[in-house]
Amino acid sequence: MQDKNFLRETLQDGAKAFQDGKLDRRSFLALCAATGFASATVLAGKAEAAAKEIVMWNWGGQSEECHGNAIGKPFEAATGLPMRFDTSGPLQGKIKEMVDSGNVTADVCDADLFDAIALGPTGHLEAIDYDVVSKDKTLPNYALDHGISIILYGYAFVYDTKAYPTAPNSWKDFFDTAKFPGKRSLYKWANGSLEAALMADGVAKDALYPLDIPRALAKIKAMKSDSLYWGSGSEAHSMVVNGEVSMGMVWQNRGKNIEADTDGRYKLVMNEALAMPGAYIVPKGNPAGREAIMKFIATAQDPAAQLQLLDCLGMTPSNPAAFANIPAEQQAYAITSAQNIDKVAFNDPVWWGNNSGDAVNAFLEAIS
């Protein structure tokens, strides 16, 4: 990843120098060739394209193709700015380091809304410009000063239909290893797991916050000998399909893939799923500038773009205008579909942003 960044930076510097007349055309083309960038994007008068673009910092995989088609294409058609990707994963620590170092290379991070609470007040993020971006095009609590939710993802669970003739239907069932014997898997960086444990312990889904961490951890520790903990979506997926667990917490869009991969042997339960606001946040001093990136975020609020992301990635729209158009085959899996929206719990990004450090550490210490 370092190399890729380095090459891109070299090329961007070269393109700037070329525009300013400091670098002759021949050297610039040689630079394009040397860095291996398709000359189509950089050739001739389009040198500007290499220097002025929107870089989305995300986790890679399919999301590159999906975001590119759903948001990148319409945005480029409207503004001429292409969308590029840095797929090294925008964790809070990396964003902080990037901004502190003064060498900001990403324009927008496909991150969590609670990151906006953790990094916004410390000056690491640009404020969202609500003259360009609309607060009405997301759920009411999910438009914050330094970040706005575009899509939702969620923590739900899948279970083995062969192991359990009576279907488990709640986190209470998930944590009940006497009634439903077998191994479980949970997310190892606390969020989702703590909420699930509290719901299992009888806390109402709209009265979760502030989280009672000791109570949640007691519930989790009680099941520790029957639990595995995953750190990535693919790990969660493989723990289930390889039969390591008979019920597994998963990201809800993974649940759909697991059902397909196992021909329906494992089934997703969306009741009491925890909806997490995925958000766009902008590192302070982003290279494309605040104006361009706010337009980009506004593009991503378009219901059509969000529905396309749902189709491509299984990420659920946060714009209420898109809810009614969620297609029939996604009804069972989408968090904000008519079928699910009243059954799910909603994450509080403000509590997580302020408490995630202590919550994650307490959780790690409890499970290790």
């Binding site: 809070q92 390889n242 390591e244 550490n361 790690l364 290790s368």
Partner: protein, 282 residues
């Protein structure tokens, strides 16, 4: 001696720029980390005080040290046997074995880690075979626990154990062993009383190498441990990337650094470290 010193001078001048680079770009950041451990979030020794307050930190450190010691022991034991076998094979076989050993360096640690899951997982090759033959009724839990972590780490570390031992064994004067046999010692006696002591620098070198490399293991424990085997390296990375407690991360990193230095110092009390690192014994 004075002529020697005169000869050294221009050499040092040549080395000086590189030495300066090392100091600037290597020691600089390390000092920065040490600073961070006493300044973030507030100046003082609060980060170090956490060690006494939190038994979780102590537990994580104990897990790390325990896994490193077991890994070192078994890697060196197995590595010693392999190196011994290699030294006493024909040149042709020896180069074949060396090639096979080096090939394992080309395979990414992630691939190796996931291969273990395929082999030893609940529905892996071994468990499926055992279940199919009716030898066991429940899959044996090799993976997603401390045993899994140890299997993965020892497997990864064996080549690192073999190389220093191989070099050490190849440099031995076999006439010493012959003399021992000639004076009436049995093969076993010769091994324990002559061969093993002569390979001590190799054993110490590979043990140190493996222990220090093991301290920084991250991917293997995270995957094969099923989330329940938390080692310091992973904890540091979480503090840096997720919880933003850089002071705690820096404190633990500093602790690891001083731990390794203390280990080297301790070793130097018992033997000349220069022999371990290939220098002369004089």
């Amino acid at each position: 001696m004075s002529t020697l010193r005169n000869k050294l001078k221009p050499g040092w001048l040549l080395v000086l720029p590189f030495l300066a680079l090392v100091v600037l770009f290597y020691l600089g950041p390390i000092l920065n980390i040490l600073m961070l451990s006493v300044t973030d979030p507030a100046p003082g020794l609060a980060n170090y005080a956490k060690l006494g307050e939190s038994d979780a930190l102590a537990r994580i450190m104990w897990t790390t040290v325990r896994i490193c010691i077991v890994t070192t022991f078994f890697s060196v034991l197995l590595g010693y046997s392999i190196a011994y076998g290699m030294v006493h094979s024909s040149t042709q076989k020896q180069s074949l074995m060396l090639t096979l050993l080096l090939v394992s360096f080309w395979i990414s640690i992630l691939v190796r880690t996931f291969s273990w899951l395929m082999l030893l997982g609940n529905r892996g090759l071994i468990n499926n075979t055992l279940l199919g033959l009716g030898i066991v009724s429940q899959p044996i839990e090799f993976m997603r626990n401390e045993l899994g972590v140890l299997i993965g780490m020892i497997h990864y570390m064996i080549p690192y154990a073999v190389l220093p031992l191989l070099v050490n064994m190849q440099s031995l004067d076999m006439r010493v062993m012959n003399a021992s046999r000639n004076l009436g010692a049995s093969g076993t006696q010769t091994f324990w009383r002559i061969y093993l002591p002569l390979t001590r620098p190799g054993i110490v070198a590979s043990s140190l190498l493996i222990f220090i490399l093991s301290l920084g293991f991250y991917v293997t424990p995270a995957i094969l441990g099923g989330g329940k085997v938390l080692m310091i390296a992973e904890y540091i990375s979480v503090q840096l990337l997720v919880t933003l407690k850089w002071g705690t991360a820096a404190m633990l990193a500093a602790l690891m650094l001083f731990g390794v230095l203390a280990l080297l110092w301790l070793m130097s009390k018992f033997m000349k470290l220069s022999t371990v690192f290939g220098g002369s014994t004089q």
